[in-house]
Structure formats: structure tokens, C-alpha cells
């Protein structure tokens, strides 16, 4: 498969009044043509910053201190803002989290959807608007011709997110970055938006990076999943690998705190104890160690490397080291292993 995007050893720092926050601390991943990669993790783990680094849409106090972002082998971090403008909204575009605030309140939606076309193509305003209308129909805005001249406040939340998606896909981007596109929507609308994204992916053949903290959403859309914690990836693999053969204790914690059909309705949901580390002064060893019931001495001292679980499945935990003691994951995770074997996999 073609790697259209590859991020290597990305480091992002933020200058704050309290000092430098090391928000991203060495992230590596790639995106294959036509696939959907989900990045999951709790708030503040650096998911958004990671993908915003790709488009260099970071806050002014952020610096990408190290790393490469290779788009078809071309390092985007070496490009000027002007060169990046040519890619943004054209080759790589982005869907934002909150549809209520992402649209310009004083511009008609027709113009907002047509804008990327006018910026990137030598096209008349009339043709751009015509194309915008088609795309609005494609994303499921009823009677788009009549609504082109309406303003964002005249649409519901779900419709606005469809418009935001229309803006992102209007110029048929190669890569679509969806930054929690369903978080601000209610559950039924969430499902519609995910179906829409899947449908659009097939129609225009774009690759998607999908960011979410909702594992339920991930299962519905992703081919591969990367789990992020405190500015680093801790585990990545196919959806089945992550859901049914998770190896990192953090992934265990995430999956264990998600209710399943087997969850007793009177039971309290599990949660991971403690809080994420302060990235002003990142821990020397595994950042998850203080919250990890399975932590060992070495977790405090040295960051674990990625251990290979299977061909495309890697996890950064010392538990996978050949010398590590054998531990028993939580019962819910063992249940998942059983399902994995039923799927034909070979759970550890």
C-alpha cells in the first residue's frame, strides 16, 4: 500500500508562562492511501496537536521542535506558509469539532463552501457556487439550491457539521483530517455523520485521519487505530488488534471503562485512577506508570520502546519484553481475547 503521509519523530512544544510544555514527544505514524486511521486518547493527550502539526495550524506559541511530516515523501515542515496554503483545503483538509462555532456567522454557506475552490482553482464565482451546491447535496443538505444564501444560524447542529464536511471535501482532498467531528453532536446525528464520512470516502477516495476519544465511534469507521497518551503513541494496530488483542495497560484501561452489552446495568463504570502527567516536566520513564497497576521498576526509569505484537500491531509497554513477568489483564480484557480467537486471531 501507498504511504501518502508519514509522520516521523514529531515533537511539539508550547511556550507558556509556566515554562515549556512538551505536548508531543516523539510521534511516528503513517497513513495509507484510502484508509481510515483513528487516533484515540483522552483530552489533552495531544491528538489534535498531532494532526494540526500536519497542516501547521498550531497556536502562535507552539513550535514543532523536531520531526518530519512527509507528504508523498515531501517534508511539509520545510515548506513556507505560502506553500502550505496551496495544500490546505486542497490536498489536505480538515473537519473541525464544533459545528456551532466553525462556520463564519456573517457569510452565506454557499460562499463558505465555494471558498476553497476559488482559492485553489482558476474558476469563476458562478461555477464555484454551482459546485458548492452539488457538494451540499452530496453531504445531505435538503434543497441546497434554496439554502445557498442562508447563514449558519439558520441550520441545525447536524446540518452545520454536514456543511463543515462539505467545505472540507469540496476540492476532493487526498487526506481528510477529522478532529472529533462527532463529539459536539447527539448520538443519532453522530451515527449519521459517520455514515456520511464512510460514504464520501468511497465516493471521492480520500484517506481519513479520524480523531476521537470515543472508542465506540472508532469501531464504526477505522481501519487502523492508534492509542495516544501524554504526547506519545502507546499502541497501534488494526481495529481488531486494538479492540480484541490490546497489549498496553492504558488501552486495557480505556476499553475497560467503556460499557459493553455484557456490562451489568447496575454496575458502576470503571475508570482509570489518577490524572495524566504534567507535560511541563514529562516523566523520565513510561508516562502512564503512575496510573498503571501493572507498572514495574523499569517503567519509572526508562521509556518502553515499541514491541511488535503481530505484523501491523505494536505496543510500547515493558510487559511485552521477553524478561517481563507474565501478568493477567483485567477480566473484561480476557473476554476480549476470547473473542479475538474466535475471529481467528492469536491472542497473547
Amino acid at each position: 500500500m501507498d504511504k501518502i503521509l508519514e509522520v516521523k519523530d514529531l515533537h511539539v512544544d508550547f511556550d507558556t508562562y509556566n515554562g515549556t510544555v512538551h505536548a508531543i514527544r516523539g510521534v511516528n505514524f503513517h497513513l495509507n492511501a484510502g484508509e481510515t486511521l483513528a487516533i484515540v486518547g483522552e483530552s489533552g493527550s495531544g491528538k489534535s496537536i498531532t494532526v494540526r502539526s500536519v497542516l501547521q495550524l498550531l497556536a502562535s506559541n507552539a513550535t514543532i521542535s523536531k520531526g518530519e511530516v512527509l507528504y508523498h515523501g515531501d517534508d511539509l515542515l520545510q515548506k513556507s506558509d505560502k506553500e502550505m496554503d496551496k495544500l490546505r483545503g486542497n490536498k489536505i483538509s480538515m473537519i473541525f469539532q464544533d459545528p456551532m462555532t466553525s462556520l463564519d456567522p456573517t457569510m452565506t454557506i454557499g460562499k463558505q463552501v465555494a471558498e476553497p475552490l476559488l482559492i485553489h482553482n482558476n474558476i469563476s464565482q458562478k461555477d464555484a457556487l454551482k459546485r458548492a451546491e452539488e457538494v451540499l447535496r452530496l453531504v445531505g443538505i435538503p434543497n441546497p439550491a434554496a439554502r445557498m444564501k442562508d447563514y449558519p444560524h439558520q441550520f441545525s447542529g447536524g446540518q452545520r457539521q454536514r456543511i463543515v464536511i462539505a467545505i472540507a471535501i469540496v476540492d476532493y482532498p487526498e487526506i481528510l483530517i477529522a478532529d472529533e467531528p462527532t463529539t459536539a453532536l447527539d448520538v443519532t446525528v453522530q451515527a449519521q455523520i459517520i455514515d456520511l464520512l464512510k460514504e464520501l470516502q468511497q465516493k471521492i477516495g480520500t484517506s481519513i485521519i479520524f480523531i476521537t476519544h470515543d472508542l465506540g465511534v472508532v469501531a464504526g469507521i477505522a481501519d487502523r487505530v492508534a492509542v495516544m497518551y501524554a504526547g506519545r503513541f502507546v499502541e497501534y494496530g488494526s481495529v481488531d488488534d486494538i479492540f480484541y488483542n490490546p497489549q498496553h495497560p492504558y488501552t486495557w484501561g480505556l476499553l475497560d471503562s467503556m460499557p459493553t452489552l455484557d456490562t451489568n446495568e447496575d454496575a458502576r463504570l470503571n475508570s482509570i485512577p489518577g490524572t495524566p502527567p504534567n507535560l511541563l516536566d514529562p516523566p523520565k520513564g513510561d508516562a502512564f506508570a503512575p496510573r498503571n497497576a501493572y507498572a514495574m521498576q523499569i517503567d519509572e526509569e526508562q521509556q518502553p520502546p515499541f514491541f511488535k505484537v503481530s505484523k501491523n500491531h505494536f505496543a510500547a509497554t515493558w510487559l511485552l519484553h521477553p524478561d517481563a513477568p507474565k501478568v493477567t489483564p483485567p477480566a473484561a480484557i480476557l473476554n476480549r481475547y476470547k473473542k479475538f480467537e474466535k475471529l481467528g486471531g492469536n491472542a497473547k
Partner: protein
């Protein structure tokens, strides 16, 4: 929209009626009399003069008489200014005041918007600091101090503009500049605050993610959205410029109505006080009406009539 404007015009008359009534009674509470040479007049003479102006009647009767006159567009006759009708008095002296007022408002608003926008875009740089410094100066130096400074340097020392004269555009430059400082400072500060907010909003990030170059993000998305609250302060600002102009007109010897207003109050020139108060109120209400219409033009969310419906 037409219906809305019609309604507003109806309210305008109601407001003017209330203002006229309140001013009338407040004015009657002013100490002193309109006749400065009262001591030299005999009781009979005074009686005759008072009767001539209808001042011998009770306040109630005077009020009703005045209001009836007002309905016919008659603002009475000035006691002081050559016994001229108040309407003629306002008419003659309106042009210079309006000219410097409008010039100052337009210049101040445009420069203020630019200054505030530049400060916001170059947030936390020396450009921002300089812009903030200028706008604070504009806000805190009273127009009469600025007027005297401008007069001293630009007119007396460097002889670029006349000291105090009223004939052509040249002579309106200094008073306009003196009055510009306040709207400029006010608008610049509002604009900066608002634009900093807008620049960090989600839709600006989305605009950037579309591939808009920075100048286009500002021109197409940030500017219009930042203007919404700036429009709000145009009304109160117009009040400040009008009251400021009274003193400035005095300094530059401009034959405007501001100067007359001050004189009419110190001399208990009742018809002139009333006429000017009603006129100023009328002007302000019109400014507020224009501001409200501007609002709708800039922000579709508060557009009146069908446009605002979901």
C-alpha cells in the same frame, strides 16, 4: 424592514415628546431669569416684558403653549440672539458643527478600525503596544487640551493652519483633529479586543485550513465579524463628539451650535435651550436608528424582517 423603520420613527416622536416635557420642567427649575438687566427695570417694565414672552403665565400654561407651538414646528424666539426664531438660529449654525462632527466621526472610526485591526493582528508585538499607547492617549486627553496643543504647534508655531477662523476646509482641519482623538481611541480599543477574540475563533481556523492566505482571512472573515460590537459604540461616541464639539467650537471660534448651547444655558434663554435640546435628541435618536440598521447589514443573525427567521 420598512415596517420596523416606521415603528422606530413613531417611537422617535414619542421619545422627543418625553424629552421635551422633562427638559421644559427642569429648565424652569434653573435659578436666575432671562433678563440680565432686570435690576434696572421697574416692576411695570418687567411685567410688560414677561407678558410679551408669556412668562407671566403659570408653568403649566407655558408648557401647553410651548407644546402646541412645537407641534406646528415653531420653536419660539430667542431671548438673546437678536430675537431670532430658534429654528433660524439652528439652521444658520448647523452646518459648521455638522461638518466638523461628521469629519471627526468618520476619520476617527476609520483610523480606529485600522489601528485596532493592526494591533490585533500583531498582538503582543511593539506594533500592538504602540497602537494601544495611541488609543489610550486619544481616550484620555480631553479634546480641549488637544485643541490648544494643535493650535499652538500647527497654527501658531508652524503656521500650517489658521489659529481660529471659519471659511474653507483648511480651517476645519484643526478642530476636526481635536475631535478625532476620542472616537479613534475608543474604536481602536474595541476593535483590538474584538478582533483578538475573533482571530482565535474556530471559524478563523477553518478559514485558514481552507488555504486562505493570512490577508484574505482577515479581509474576508475577521474584519466583518469584529465590526459588530464596534457598531454598538458609534451611538454613545456620537454623543461624546457632540458635547466635545461645544468646547472645541469655542476654542476655534467656530460659529456652530455648540457654542450657542452653552450661552443659552448661562443666560436662561428658554426657547433656545428647548430648541437645541430637542434638536440634539433628534440627532441622537437618528444616529441610534442608523446604528441599528447598520447592525442588521453587518450581522445576518440580527437582520430584521424575514431574514432573521429560522
Amino acid at each position: 424592514m420598512a415596517k420596523y423603520i416606521l415603528k422606530r420613527i413613531l417611537y422617535l416622536f414619542l421619545t422627543l415628546f418625553i424629552i421635551a416635557s422633562i427638559t421644559f420642567f427642569l429648565m424652569k427649575l434653573l435659578p436666575g431669569t432671562p433678563f440680565s438687566n432686570q435690576n434696572r427695570m421697574s416692576a411695570d417694565q418687567l411685567k410688560i416684558v414677561k407678558a410679551q414672552y408669556g412668562l407671566d403665565q403659570s408653568v403649566g400654561v407655558q408648557y401647553v403653549r410651548y407644546m402646541v407651538g412645537l407641534l406646528h414646528g415653531n420653536l419660539g424666539t430667542s431671548f438673546q440672539f437678536n430675537n431670532e426664531p430658534v429654528t433660524a438660529l439652528i439652521g444658520q449654525r448647523l452646518a459648521p458643527s455638522m461638518q466638523i462632527g461628521a469629519q471627526a466621526m468618520i476619520l476617527g472610526t476609520v483610523l480606529g478600525i485600522l489601528l485596532g485591526a493592526v494591533a490585533a493582528i500583531r498582538k503582543n508585538t511593539w506594533v500592538d503596544t504602540l497602537a494601544t499607547f495611541i488609543s489610550i492617549l486619544g481616550l484620555s486627553i480631553p479634546s480641549f487640551v488637544l485643541a490648544v496643543l494643535l493650535q499652538f504647534y500647527l497654527a501658531y508655531k508652524w503656521k500650517i493652519y489658521p489659529v481660529a477662523l471659519w471659511d474653507n476646509f483648511q480651517s476645519s482641519v484643526l478642530p476636526t483633529l481635536a475631535l478625532t482623538a476620542l472616537p479613534l481611541g475608543t474604536v481602536a480599543r474595541f476593535m483590538r479586543t474584538e478582533m483578538v477574540d475573533v482571530m482565535s475563533s474556530d471559524y478563523i481556523e477553518l478559514a485558514k485550513s481552507k488555504g486562505n492566505p493570512n490577508w484574505r482571512v482577515v479581509a474576508k472573515h475577521a474584519l466583518r465579524n469584529s465590526l459588530i460590537p464596534v457598531v454598538t459604540i458609534i451611538g454613545p461616541m456620537a454623543v461624546s463628539v457632540m458635547t466635545g464639539s461645544m468646547v472645541v467650537e469655542n476654542i476655534f471660534s467656530i460659529p456652530g451650535i455648540g457654542e450657542q448651547f452653552v450661552k443659552s444655558i448661562t443666560t436662561n434663554d428658554y426657547p433656545t435651550i428647548m430648541g437645541l435640546t430637542i434638536f440634539y435628541s433628534f440627532l441622537l435618536i437618528i444616529v441610534y436608528l442608523i446604528v441599528d440598521i447598520l447592525y442588521g447589514l453587518i450581522d445576518p443573525r440580527i437582520r430584521l424582517g424575514n431574514g432573521g427567521k429560522e
